[in-house]
Symmetry: D4
Subunit: 253 residues, 8 copies
């Protein structure tokens, strides 16, 4: 409960423009809508500047459709991640105006392109990391960011990275995505002067341990300026990068 | 090797203002200075916008002193982290102009206070997390950031957090530091619209596993907008936050 | 072997109302029934106040049916958990009077509703935790407890929890179910003055580690008054909560 | 923020008996007191029925003394756990009315004995588990519970447990404490019809893994009615047991 | 290379009844037969008293058949473990005289029953542990041991174990098989004066960790006289028990 | 509670040679003696054929002395393991007739040598494993077994093992003790036809993980006939080996 | 960027035989070719002496075909590993001149046999390790090495290894492949005076942990001269062995 | 037992120049010398081309001295690793001709410098890795290799590595030593065409996990040509590198 909001409300009550009961009502109202299986956080845009996003894994197609229908009354951009092909097909029959991208497994609204700001570079170590990179890219784009993709520049052939380093340096924020041993963020972090968000992927085998190895590598990076999100969490990296990119674009808040 | 730099150099060679050998020389020169036990990255300020920092753990007092002496020729601000009391005493005898802070275990230069910009909030869950918070605070301050400290507002008494939430929301970036189960960043992340950098600490016992438990908690946070650094890595969090804070302060780069 | 029971028995023997051999017989008899593949603990109601429950995973439909048939001679309420759809179908052909619930994967007797006592609140962090919550709810109800469901009030939108906190506070015991990072029990534990039983779920990805992350989070909670059961163990939580709820309802034992 | 409290406050504001600013003030006031290094949750008794407790590990003697002095203005019973001998000595010089118990490493107020209610049985598997058992016992007693101690009845000589089972069954709640392989709670859980709270201890060697082995054993117990707290967390177990014991004692809430 | 054998051979060479080359030949010969994909240890009976056994997992039906055909020239009893139904069907078409047991997943020779010696008790905690118990039972029987089966006597209803304890005590060796938390061997170990071999099974869920939890429990047992084999390794337990049982049966070697 | 014992008792009661109350009394009596901090299992010799042993770690010198004094009334041989030098010194002042061995950290009674039976071979991979080997040797000897020591025959120089293999083969049971990678039991297990008990030690560094690596190696051994005890558990291995050795010595039980 | 290359380039620029822009161009050109989903490191042969290899897992058949087509312009030998049967079939329709080997899951060019040099011994512990061994063998052969295969000589029947030890000793490098407990490399390492490269495999069950157990075993080997590659990484072992074998064959570089 | 040796021996026996018993004798003799606590593998030089080395950790100064005295009769070069300062002082009093190096913690013979061959590059990521690097360097030098040291060229300032890459490329074998995240070997492996041996160190904090993180990083390296040894195992890396270096130096064996 924020003191700012509360003070205003109390003043209204003091000025008798609001009954105590209506004040209570207004406090809870408009904050979330209640479905049988979900409480949709409709106050989220106001509170954090970003609309709520649907994490599709573990939800049925019916639940996803139901949630999107409620959301549409509160926010313009819709994003659902981790939606498998068959669920997407079912949702699209209900909501044919949405767009499904099979690589990133995302369902989004197809807005006439809003002007995007700033610049986020999305860099991958290998070809197999692209599906996570695209989850990040779609997320960043729907939140209004300009995205630059640089794929397959891992450290085993480091000249490929150097050939692209000037492009990477022009971005406000850099997302670096790598599986296997996850060494790429350390090298990038030593070469750029902007924040680097590292995303470990579950690409690899043997002692890769489902992505735990690159996760640990990235957390222990000897290069400063790197922070890390969960394994395969392209969405989270893009959400973070978007926050930073847009704040930089706006200047001092 | 950056193409920008290289092109300029090649043009000088083409214009005969530089011999090929001198070009090679100038490429390596000024990039690092070589001690017996260390290669000091003197090009770092130019390359990443930040001076090199000394990680004191595992280095002798002699090595720390030696590295600082070289650094002083290349950068104004000196920061050494993880310097234990006895090492600090030895370094201070050699370099009495430095200042040692026993809580954060840092050695720094005592500059006439430079004007600091922006605002970084540093929030801890408990009293025992303060030593990591101070490592972050000292780091952020020496890099020219304004810092706001909010300590001991963990989720077991969540009204303490709500009483401070407006102060936290005024910051450009929020560093949240927690041991035990590490739940605080998830709650803060759901309440603010700016980037949150989470720092797990090794505070706790039993199945805390030396900080692995809050680390995992933070990586799996259901709140978006959170990224994570290594256990007890107050320095890394502040370095990241400083990058973001200063970019926001400057506006579009 | 309890001294109370033993003394009575010995007195009967001393009074020659029972031969030594019959005493031995009566000690083992009525304590369990022996099938080829199972020894059914028919003394359980008498010993612990609760009937034996069938853990369906790893048992064939034939074994489940066989065990239920024996149990029916000893106890009124039947509960089988972790029964997959196809096994349930097979069991229902043998025992059509049972009821199968596909969400909670439980088979139960359909008694004319017995009056239920007390109140157990079952709270989930997300939509995907509902299947575990329903296992808990069905268990609690068949054991004669009143249940209140509060679903999808995770910490990323904490105002949803606050809107429901008064309802939660009216319960004797609170079961809190969460996957991802598992932070919800810590917050609830700090707000209520009744016992909280935390259930980690295997909902999540990456470093969630099949539920180990929320399990560790809950064990390390900085809020007192929380105890924890195994990952996805909705049954166990409800069993515990039921014991507490009914003891409170009865007052001092 | 609870709706009950809020409604009352709003009514006062509406009735002009309280200015909006004073309302804000009164909301935060009395909720915590702010020291330099801690925010003491003085509203805790009112909110959860239990006073705040000091976790002594990682705090200096000065911080412990400082916090106790503040607390004394708000609550009668003081409990500090994990206070090592030398810290305790320093605190006792400042606050000589406290009592230190070296086995349980607790500092407490020495009240004229308040009448204690109900009954909590504290059972250990071995002699080495006693220090954790005493932390639990001291905690339970200061919170006004009657405690019965049954020590060293581990499963390797299970007749020792059977000789004490009738005493254990008379308790409202049973705390079972075990290191090594942690099998005791499973056996006790199968013999009693009251809630069992299991506490794994770090007693053992080799693959005991600092208590992780008995922790996992207890979480996977095949006996229902068992919940678990963190390794060596005698305090947490007693806090839980106390909540349950006192609710049972009072009957329906 | 054993000195006994070598001395005899050297004496033959010294007595010119064997050329050096023939000696070398005879040393390697008869020790194993070489297939394309396997070297069958035909000297094993002589060396360890037990014939080689086929571990079926990871081998094709053709490889299993091929190996059995070679073995049949060297040993009477054939045992193949971990043979899935479809592989078994294929092998039986080639070798119809073998017998397949679907519960234990074993292929064996059907000898006219040889007289079996001694007594091995095989005890399980639950119904789901039976498949591992039967792997142990089939193995022990084909190696000529008498087997007594006692299934489903886990610690949650410990009176079931006590009712069978006299039968268990009559065995030379006791194999105890348990999943979940694996507490049964500790209890049995405290009650019998013969060696106990504990077998953890992967039966369980959540933090059972595929059997690692009961494995750790058993290794840390507070009862002496227990040794442990790998998770689900019914064969290994029976092999061990057979060695001990037959040595006891024979008396001092 | 055994049916044999119970029947006899019941017959006495039936024959009025025993009152019911005296029967109860006699059932618990003589089974354990109760100290403040321990319940000494004095029925253990009768029940398992072996006296109770004191695990010294985590007990004070006073507790060790106190327990030994009670034990002396019930059993001839006393064995306390894991007793550090300073504790031993304190115990010896109280009980000067005991003998302390600093390598194995054991306190024992110095009996006129009883005739020992059978033969247990104790084999180590390296020099650093000797302290665990001696714990095993002292244990085996006090339980009346003949012991043969073969130290430092690890697989890196496997000819050392072959030179001793005939001696090893003459034992009834073989204890193999190894740290580092723990490969020795697999090799020994393939060469002998008697039971092998493997003891992993915490000798090693890096990814040895405090003995977890040799523990896992031994559990996964491709050689049958090997069972495993906990890391550094020389006592447990010897206890097991003693049971087997003495049963073999006696022949069919 | 290497100084050798750079100097030559700078001299050309100085001599005006190259414009600065063309120099930049030539630096990046010929170093990699850019597809939509991959940057093929065509400079690899020149830089490391070995052509780039395709890791097939996680790539589509289209991507594999596309990359091979580009590679064919730059290198003679093509090797793709981890290509499953169905992907291989699709690639072969596009590129029918390639050869697929189903055991090793490799796609290769079928060159008229080039003369191979040196000798690499590939040794496996069991039959199930052969698929990894063949990945190593195919890799070594396409890189121009002579290969000797010795399969199924694990330590449980160590005489099989001794019978082959002279053949193994004739190789320049030995690759030892083992699952289960992974003890074979330690034994081989103690018997040969050439480098041993150990490959753990995921063959095993229970606490084998997907190959982590033999991996740890090999890293902790008490025999010197052993280095280790990732679980199931036959390709990596062969690549290493090939480097060493060919350098030895050429003599001092 | 090698067939070559055996054939010669058998021929001697056949020619009556050796009795069978003397043959047995000669087989075991000269292969190792037996101390009370160790069996020194004096045949090692003959068998593997390298003398035995003493691993000092876990041995007393007396044991180290004793072993060295025996070794001196069989080999010229003595190397003891992991010898702490105080043990070294004690050994040097007995054996004053040895030399102790405190950084690498090695005791060695001080031979008039033998001509060293080939070239091994030892590369570290940081200053704190030097103690492991020196263990490697001392080992390589006493085994007759030429060593080139390149310290502190980690990936956070990758231009330092590029400035030294030509020197590194001139070595036959490269040892790369790194703690923290361990990314350096991947980068080096992509730039050189000779074998790279990676050594993870326990340098780091938080989730470095005592070196497990760089170990996993190195095993998962996306660059081929890298093999790995145990954490902090400078000796093992040097032993491997020496084997390769000297074989290359000699050319085809």
């Amino acid at each position: 409960m924020e003191q700012q909001q509360l003070l205003k409300l109390l003043q209204n009550v003091a000025q008798q423009t609001l009954t105590p009961e209506a004040a209570i009502e207004s406090l809870s109202k408009d904050n979330f809508e209640e479905l049988n299986y979900a409480k949709i956080d409709t106050a989220r845009v106001r509170r954090t500047g970003y609309p709520e996003v649907i994490y599709g894994a573990g939800k049925t197609a019916e639940q996803i459709s139901g949630i999107i229908k409620v959301m549409k009354g509160h926010q313009k951009a819709i994003l659902a991640t981790r939606v498998e092909q068959d669920k997407a097909t079912a949702v699209l029959q209900e909501l044919p105006s949405l767009k499904y991208d099979a690589v990133s497994q995302t369902l989004t609204t197809v807005d006439e392109k809003t002007a995007s700001v700033g610049n986020i570079a999305i860099v991958t170590a290998g070809t197999s990391d692209i599906r996570i990179a695209e989850e990040a890219a779609v997320t960043a784009e729907i939140f209004g960011n300009h995205v630059t993709r640089i794929y397959d520049v891992g450290v085993a052939g480091i000249h490929r990275l150097f050939a692209k380093i000037d492009v990477i340096r022009q971005a406000n924020v850099v997302i670096v995505i790598a599986g296997m041993e996850g060494a790429l963020p350390s090298v990038v972090g030593g070469l750029v002067d902007h924040p680097v968000i590292a995303v470990p992927t579950s690409v690899g085998y043997g002692s890769n341990l489902g992505g735990m190895t690159p996760l640990l590598t990235m957390l222990n990076s000897c290069a400063a300026g790197i922070s890390v999100v969960n394994i395969d969490n392209g969405f989270g990296a893009a959400y973070n990068a978007s926050m930073i990119n847009r704040l930089i674009d706006k200047g001092h808040i």
